[in-house]
């Protein structure tokens, strides 16, 4: 006769297995479903051809998405990393500005992206006259990313032991040199993972981009052109394209997954390299 204790541990053990199984199955299920449908919908003309209603090619969208990732990060990453450096290394502890910046970033982090989209459309699009364009989209998403990167960079910087800073100051190094040669390199793995996560957010963003990047389905020729990122393209295809559109959406989804996968591999390779360079 099994004791009570044995029954509890039996149940718990299988609950753990079951949770793992359900999670793994649903993840693999979703990935497999999208990939299979995407591959079935594949035709070479879908990537290489010109977009038209009979051949909804997505080559332009892959290009637009890549441009958006690079440009958005170029705007958001330096701004938020420097801001985090100010907050952690330069600001005095009881500084009022810091309290306000913290409150603002924490609030911004919780706001739905469509609100950012509206703001971006009005401020960058109308007031600054950038219209529906890649630039408007990038600026809007960059603002969304600020709180995310700032907060994670702050955490990474705070986790650098004080004894490294003391060692550097003790040798007569200035604050600037200590921050850029000792603190930031030590915090680099954490900062990189923040940047990688935010790449995912750029790729996945839809609501804010419909209002700012717009939905024009063609190769952009300048940063002031409107275009579609992959996620926006998926949304429009599903909404307007009927059954054929859904197929295109699945194909787009498969491409999106491939892009994210490639980017994660690239980033972790880069991250490993940066960390290693600093240690050896």
């Amino acid at each position: 006769m099994p004791s009570r204790r044995n029954i509890v541990s039996f149940v718990l053990r299988y609950a753990v297995y079951a949770a793992m199984g359900v999670t793994a199955l649903s993840l693999i299920g979703i990935l497999g479903y999208i990939l299979i449908h995407g591959i079935l919908a594949f035709k070479p003309s879908l990537i290489l051809g010109e977009y038209s209603s009979s051949n909804p090619a997505i080559g332009f969208s892959v290009f637009t998405t890549c441009v958006m990732i690079v440009l958005t990060l170029l705007i958001a990453a330096p701004l938020s990393i420097f801001c985090a450096v100010y907050l952690t290394e330069y600001a005095k502890r009881k500084n009022k500005i810091v309290t306000w910046i913290r409150l603002a970033t924490e609030t911004l982090a919780g706001i739905p992206s469509i609100v950012f989209g509206l703001f971006g459309a009005i401020f960058f699009g109308t007031v600054m006259r950038l219209g529906y364009s890649i630039m408007t989209g990038c600026l809007t998403v960059a603002i969304m990313l600020l709180p995310v990167i700032i907060r994670q960079t702050e955490e990474a910087i705070k986790s650098v032991p004080d004894m490294f800073r003391e060692g550097s100051y003790g040798l007569g190094a200035s604050k600037l040199r200590t921050v850029f040669r000792i603190v930031l390199p030590s915090a680099m793995p954490g900062i990189l993972s923040a940047v990688i996560l935010s790449m995912g957010r750029i790729i996945g963003e839809t609501a804010a981009l419909i209002f700012t990047l717009g939905t024009v389905a063609k190769f952009p020729t300048s940063l002031l052109d409107s275009s579609r990122s992959l996620a926006v393209h998926m949304y429009i295809s599903t909404r307007d394209g009927g059954a054929a559109g859904r197929e295109v959406a699945f194909f787009t989804g498969a491409v999106l997954i491939a892009v994210i996968l490639l980017m994660n591999i690239g980033a972790s390779y880069l991250g490993g390299k940066v960390g290693k360079d600093f240690e050896n």
């Binding site: 005095k92 502890r93 004894m163 003391e166 060692g167 100051y169 003790g170 007569g172 190094a173 600093f278």
Partner: protein, 249 residues
């Protein structure tokens, strides 16, 4: 006198950590600060190269003269001061980079860029810190991969690399095993020919073995300061005697 502390008081907010301290540090000697935890000995050491500037609530009155110059005076450049007074900390704190880059960090900070010059400084500093033989084949290896005792001597070498006049050591052997401790003590005795050394230590045996002069601190005050031999054999103050004979602390 290399360093002269005159009527110095130090406060953290409202707490007074050092009370009316007067002290002379002579050139090419080892001066030891002893006393129980929280007596102010590390605080005074960190005031000498102004590491206390990093503590926001810290306030200082009185004077500290370094070669006759007031280190808290307007003309003093803190970075130059810290270059002239090297510091070694309680816990070995090599940077997470190679042995070579650790030593070269200081000289690079002060504008030495040529590889040939840096190579020479690295070798010289490691030799002066008596660790060249152990590390010469591992210059490109991470400094975090060597033993704690080696790391501490690497930190001494790193301090020597900027050609300081004074070396300040804050309980440099308290995290090390006895063999590493002996090596560092021998090294300090060798180094005093070229440098002025101030060492904070918890270990009275260490003060007695290596220092020329000793200051005994209690509750933020210097109770007694004098030649080490005299302080340990014929302490003038009852409190010093109680401390060095192990009656408290």
């Amino acid at each position: 006198m290399k360093i002269k502390v005159e009527e110095m008081n130090l406060y953290y907010d409202t707490f007074q950590a050092l009370i009316n301290v007067n002290l002379d540090v002579s050139e090419n000697e080892i001066t030891a600060f002893i006393g129980p935890s929280g007596c102010g000995k590390s605080t005074l050491l960190k005031s000498l190269n102004r590491m206390n500037d990093l503590v926001e609530s810290c306030r200082i009155t009185g004077k500290i003269l370094f070669d006759g110059e007031d280190i808290y005076g307007k003309k003093m450049n803190v970075n130059v001061l810290r270059k002239r007074m090297g510091m070694v900390f309680q816990k070995p704190n090599p940077f997470p980079m190679s042995v070579y880059d650790n030593i070269a960090y200081g000289p690079r900070t002060h504008g030495i860029k040529k590889k040939r010059d840096l190579d020479q400084i690295v070798e010289e500093s490691l030799k002066n810190a008596a660790i060249w033989e152990e590390l010469k084949d591992r210059l490109k290896k991470s400094a975090l991969a060597i033993s704690g005792g080696q790391q501490q001597r690497l930190c001494i070498a790193r301090a020597l690399a900027v050609k300081p006049e004074v070396i300040l050591l804050d309980e440099p052997t308290s995290a090390l095993d006895p063999i590493s401790t002996t090596k560092i003590e021998d090294l300090l005795v060798e180094l005093k020919d070229k440098y002025t050394i101030v060492i904070v230590t918890h270990n009275m045996g260490q003060a007695a073995r290596i220092s020329d002069k000793t200051a005994f601190f209690l509750h933020g005050e210097i109770v007694e300061f004098g030649k080490t031999i005299e302080l340990f054999s014929r302490p003038k103050d009852k409190k010093t005697e109680d401390y060095i004979t192990g009656r408290f602390g």
